[in-house]
Symmetry: C2
Subunit: 267 residues, 2 copies
Amino acid sequence: MNLTEAEWLAMKPADFRSKVRQGQWSGPNALKVCQGYALANLAIVPEKYAFEFMLFCKRNPRPCPVLDVTDPGDPHPRSVAPEADLKTDIPKYRVFRDGKLIDEPVNISAYWRDDLVAFLLGCSISFDWALEAANIKYRLLGDYFTDIPCVPAGHFRGRMAVSGRAFASAQAAIRAVQISSRYPAFHGPPVHIGDEKAIGIKDLDKPDAYAPPWPVEPKKPEEVTMFWGCGITPQAVALEAKLPLMITHWPGHMFVTDMMVEELAGI
Amino acid sequence: MNLTEAEWLAMKPADFRSKVRQGQWSGPNALKVCQGYALANLAIVPEKYAFEFMLFCKRNPRPCPVLDVTDPGDPHPRSVAPEADLKTDIPKYRVFRDGKLIDEPVNISAYWRDDLVAFLLGCSISFDWALEAANIKYRLLGDYFTDIPCVPAGHFRGRMAVSGRAFASAQAAIRAVQISSRYPAFHGPPVHIGDEKAIGIKDLDKPDAYAPPWPVEPKKPEEVTMFWGCGITPQAVALEAKLPLMITHWPGHMFVTDMMVEELAGI
């Protein structure tokens, strides 16, 4: 069964998750499937650490906007996709013990436990649908670590990661501030405009973490760069805390919710 | 020392809290002190219940917008008023054991424990400053219990409480939807417009909980009523759960934060 790009984009989330479950999609899905639907990053932690992790997210809402939190042991995200199963419906996972990567499975049923709590965090790729719908001219640069300290909570502390975008003009950047501000569930407005060195990014051409699957071109003089809080922040912070068990999605392989981005707009 | 109404309104939050600590203010403070500053409702629960309570708030953001959550045992709300002490800086408290009221002190130092977690929840009176600043004509009616079910979390379940307001015209009501939507930290947009019976309120003239200290007039035909999620919801739900210990502010006697309402506007 070969589907066209347009067919993957037009697909409903439940159908996409069903294909993931059947092993028919295991690659990156940013901007490739279920156009207009909200994407989420995943962080699963034991209940013992769930309150502190939720506190950390609450205190750092730009990098860590919480979309849904499951009851301990419940793999179904009741608010954003009640029929989905977080053990099987994400294209690819990462499993960490004591902060060390031990597995990269396409299904985490073998690791599931009654005390696990799943956090779904809004992914900024979601508002890229809104930027595209508004015909904003820009390039996605990738994800970087900054020297902006997060507000700590218990075991969790660290620096903020950001996603970078280069806008074709000041006007496009201004419009993007307006548009992204409507989506606090997907990181809201940018955390920085302009010089990346002011927030500790050494080389714009070398993203620290996830980079889009196309070559990063050097910034052009007329472009305006902006940076948004990024969902790899809570994962990095939780890894640094060396939890006995933690499970995340594989970067770029996000969970597709049943919610349209517009349903979750703040205003 | 007699201060005028204008002097109480012009006072900075730190000065007001100092006067509260010194016993110079123990009455209701809605719209009477520190004009333009954000007010918060208080709910203190043992750490054992903190994750479930925070989950409940997350799942019911209209009645339960969380402004700040303290670390266990820490009485200082680091995000919204780091110098304040939640044990002493609120005009009046209520202390409950197993869901029963046991004390109504002006200071809770005797009840404080190392495992207590304080939740500050945005109070809708905060956006009344914004409605007043926009010259909206309306009357505050009081707080009511509805038959709208909250999304449960662990021990916490129950019905939503709302605050009611009667607007002088449809135009005033429409503008109030726009303005309140800017403040998700203070309950955001209304949860209902119009017929109160549709959400289970039997008698608009008889608020179930807190009522303003002036007589409630019957609704006039040209008025439009609207209802916002109300911060007594999480208190009522936590009491129903019969926690071994729970401390709240006394209704109408709110905590005054250092944050201006505009600092916490969503957009």
